[in-house]
Symmetry: C2
Subunit: 136 residues, 2 copies
C-alpha cells in the first residue's frame, strides 16, 4: 500500500492507505457489523486470507486508523476499534454504498437505508458534472 | 478486481470494481485534471505502468464507467470520458479528498477547496459515531 509512488495529492494519499478492497471491508465489519475480533473478520463472507488480514490490521494500526487493545473479557484476546481517523472514513464508505445502491441492480442495501443517504450534490460536484455535460 | 469473492454487499460491490488505487487515480485525472488520452494517464506523477493502465481502462470501459471514443481531431487516437455511472463516483473521490485533507499534514489540497467540501454528518454517520463514543 504505502510505496514509492506516494504523493500528497489528497486522492493518492488516501488511496495509498486504504486503496485496496480489504482495508475498507475490515472497516465495514467494524463500523457497520459491530465486529471487533480477528476471527470475526476472518469469517466474513468475502473470505479474506489470514496473511492478508494480519497484514492489513497491522497497517491500519500503524496508520492509527484502528486501535488494538486487550479484550477486558479475556486478556489473551485483542479487540480492534476505530480511532477518530478511522471514524472519519465513514463518509467514504457511505459514498461507496450510495454508488453501489444506484448501480448494482441486485444490491443488498435496503431501500430505506439508501434513501437516508440521498443528498444534494455540493458545488464542486455540480461544477465537474457541468463540465462534462457541456462537452458531450 | 471482479472475482469469486464478489457479493452484493454494497461496499464489497463497489470495491470489487474500483477498490484498487489505480482505478480511482485514472478517474481523478479525467474528472479533476481534464485528461482524456492514454498517454496523459501514463504520465501522471504516480507512474502507472502501461500494462496496469491498459487493463484498468479496459475494465472501466467494460463496467461502463468510462466511454472510449475516436478522437475527432485524430481518428487514430482515442479519448476517454466518464459516463453517468463514472460521474456518480465524484462523491466517493471527494470523500477521500476530505479525509486526506484532514489527516495528511502535508496535503496538497488547497484550504479553500477543502472548506467547500465541509458538510454536516448525515444521520447514519452520527449513529455510528455515537455507538463508538458510548463504547469508549
Amino acid at each position: 500500500m504505502l510505496n514509492k509512488h506516494s504523493t500528497h495529492c489528497p486522492i493518492a494519499f488516501g488511496l495509498n492507505i486504504f486503496g485496496d478492497r480489504w482495508t475498507l471491508l475490515i472497516l465495514r465489519d467494524i463500523l457497520f457489523q459491530d465486529k471487533k475480533y480477528y476471527n470475526e473478520f476472518l469469517h466474513s463472507e468475502e473470505e479474506i486470507s489470514t496473511n492478508i488480514l494480519a497484514d492489513r490490521l497491522e497497517q491500519l494500526e500503524a496508520q492509527r486508523i484502528l486501535k488494538k487493545s486487550p479484550d477486558p473479557l479475556n486478556r489473551k484476546r485483542f479487540t480492534y476499534a476505530p480511532t477518530t481517523k478511522g471514524l472519519d472514513l465513514i463518509p467514504v464508505i457511505l459514498a461507496i454504498v450510495r454508488w453501489s445502491g444506484k448501480h448494482d441492480p441486485e444490491t443488498a442495501a435496503p431501500r430505506p437505508f439508501l434513501r437516508k443517504l440521498e443528498k444534494p450534490a455540493n458545488a464542486i460536484e455540480r461544477d465537474i458534472r457541468r463540465k462534462f455535460s457541456l462537452r458531450t
